[in-house]
């Protein structure tokens, strides 16, 4: 066999573990999930065909509607705000200067904190009696709020906690900003462009492809990262105020052993996220100059 052929063949051997892993851990489970969505299955007896029954039942379920609404509100609260904050931080910290490493590390740190620890920290911060947030409010003369006990504040409070975990997007935007050649700014400044004009006509369009990536990734992450905080901080309460789709799927499948319904919910979640991504891409994809990615 020729060296070249043999070489390419061995490249595929190096790829084999990753590819087989994707098949076993992602593709087959995804197909399995889709198939199960049309059955009733409790994990013990064999699955029985139910057609579209699961989907019909779910759509009529008030809890499902509540979970979808909560998840959408959560996305609407977190994704735009977090995108703006991330971009602001990246703009502030993308140039190399003294002490920059410390500042960047501080911004990234909440992102590496393990989910359970992060949720417990916030559970304490938001505690009406022992938590520092209300002590801070008291000190400024504001009334204490039982953040996680009040059905109106529980969801916004969890959204607030999610705001600080923006490290992944931050790093991507830093890289994006560093790819913009300084000459662009120099020549625009010579033409007398102000800071705002520089941002609108150079920075934003050039960083847009990165921003789009960050937004799409953030949509996916925010659609599922509610599980741990909701389970630890509120168990979905009070009065289902923080029942998000992932927690609802978990309860349906693993607390009540309704795998068929769980699979149908999973299908909904997947299609919902895909639809959101498609809409975002439609809305924002045309922006900016596309040559930089």
């Amino acid at each position: 066999m020729k060296y070249h052929t043999r070489y390419n063949l061995s490249l595929y051997v190096l790829l084999a573990p990753f590819l087989s892993g994707i098949v076993i851990l992602v593709l087959i489970p995804a197909a399995l999930s889709l198939a199960l969505a049309f059955t009733s299955y409790d994990g013990l007896s064999a699955p029985g065909w139910r057609g579209l029954q699961n989907f019909r039942q779910i759509i009529d379920d008030d809890l499902f509607r509540r979970a979808v609404a909560n998840s959408l509100v959560f996305l609407a609260l977190t994704v735009p705000l977090r995108t703006v904050v991330t971009l602001g931080l990246a703009l502030l910290l993308h140039r190399s200067r003294r002490g920059i490493g410390l500042y960047r590390a501080a911004v990234y740190i909440p992102t590496v904190i393990p989910g359970v620890a992060y949720a417990l920290i916030w559970l304490w911060i938001l505690n009406p009696i022992y938590g520092p947030l209300n002590l801070l409010l008291n000190a400024t003369g504001l009334p204490a709020i039982a953040w996680l006990v009040n059905p109106h504040t529980a969801l916004p409070a969890i959204a607030l906690t999610a705001l600080f975990q923006l490290g992944e997007g931050f790093v991507v935007l830093l890289a994006g900003l560093q790819h913009i050649p300084d000459e662009y700014y120099d020549s625009a400044e010579l033409d007398g462009a102000g800071q705002l004009a520089l941002f609108r006509h150079i920075t934003l369009p050039l960083v847009m492809p990165w921003l789009l990536l960050v937004i799409m990734r953030d949509l996916i992450a925010s659609a599922q990262n509610t599980f741990t905080p909701a389970l630890i901080m509120t168990s979905g309460g009070p009065y289902y105020a923080t029942l998000f789709l992932p927690l609802f799927i978990y309860q349906t499948a693993f607390d009540r052993f309704r795998f068929g319904e769980g699979a149908a919910l999973t299908t909904f979640l997947f299609l919902g996220v895909a639809a959101l991504i498609a809409v975002t891409y439609r809305l924002l994809g045309g922006w900016g100059y596309d040559d930089s990615v």
């Binding site: 070489y7 190096l14 790829l15 892993g21 995804a30 002590l135 499948a253 991504i277």
Partner: protein
């Protein structure tokens, strides 16, 4: 009149003020947590924000290790991470290396696959993956927790290695091929030694992923002897919700290795021209 250097200094001062307040906002909760973990358990709620309590109750840390076999849980988490890190680096770097070397068409197909898989919400895979793990009779084993390492733990890690290898001078690999070296030998002798920052970054992120993993242990583990630290913290929370100092001590125990690793390895994340190496080009 203000001179040019005055203005520069003012601007720099302004920058550092803003950046320092952001640092405070993002890092202060950690200091609070540390302080909270050293309060006397059962003490009345503080009237105002207390920093280091006097005297600090270091015994809280000993106490949580008596309440729960946290030492065992910690060992389990460490064992899991210790298994996952090398496996992930091996599989992700192999895949990234192969992707970087393959002809354009195969390369783009694989890149697309990696990005698409990265976009699938993991929540959508809990249930079917649970059934696959069950069919493989891996429920209540470490293998069930280690299984994601099979696909390099995350397509992101494969992409990180891919980007890192693509940035290497092609001539290096070309000359190794002219010497008749095989793919595995080039990966080991030429590519990997030059991909140190990517390897460190993937290693750290993998450690954090498995050390922090909550959902997989929650789904797959049944025996308490196999619990990991994140499940242990959940148990601690459920034991007594009002004992904040003890719970925060548990949180600190879980945080220490992560923060330590991140601080030690952060050069691999931040050095200017390596940012592209780690996170894209």
């Amino acid at each position: 009149m203000m001179t040019r250097s005055d203005r520069a200094m003012r601007q720099s001062l302004g920058f550092h003020l803003v950046a320092a307040s952001i640092t405070l906002l993002f890092a202060a909760p950690l200091v609070w947590v540390l302080a909270a973990s050293l309060r006397q358990p059962g003490a009345p709620p503080p009237a105002r924000i207390a920093w280091l309590p006097d005297p600090p109750a270091w015994s809280n840390y000993a106490h949580i290790f008596e309440l729960l076999p946290l030492g065992r849980y910690m060992a389990n988490s460490l064992l899991l991470a210790a298994g996952a890190v090398p496996l992930t680096i091996l599989i992700a770097s192999w895949a990234g290396f192969a992707m970087a070397q393959l002809p354009a068409r195969a390369r783009y197909a694989l890149l697309t696959l990696a990005v698409v898989v990265r976009m699938i919400p993991i929540t959508a895979l809990w249930l079917p993956r649970f059934l696959v793990i069950k069919e493989l009779h891996l429920i209540d084993t470490f293998a069930a927790l280690l299984v994601p390492a099979w696909m390099g733990s995350s397509p992101l890690f494969v992409l990180v290695f891919y980007w890192s290898f693509r940035r290497m001078p092609a001539a290096l690999i070309e000359s190794a091929r002219l010497d008749g070296l095989g793919a595995l030998a080039i990966w080991a002798r030429v590519a990997m030694p030059l991909a140190r920052p990517a390897t460190v970054a993937v290693g750290v992120l993998t450690f954090v992923q498995y050390w922090s993993d909550f959902i997989n242990p929650l789904l797959y583990l049944k025996s308490e002897t196999r619990y990991t630290l994140s499940v242990g913290l959940r148990v601690l929370q459920q034991m007594d919700l009002t004992s904040w100092p003890l719970l925060m001590a548990g949180v600190v125990v879980m945080l220490i290795p992560v923060i330590l690793l991140f601080v030690l390895a952060q050069r691999a994340f931040w050095i200017e021209d390596q940012i592209g190496g780690v996170h894209g080009n």
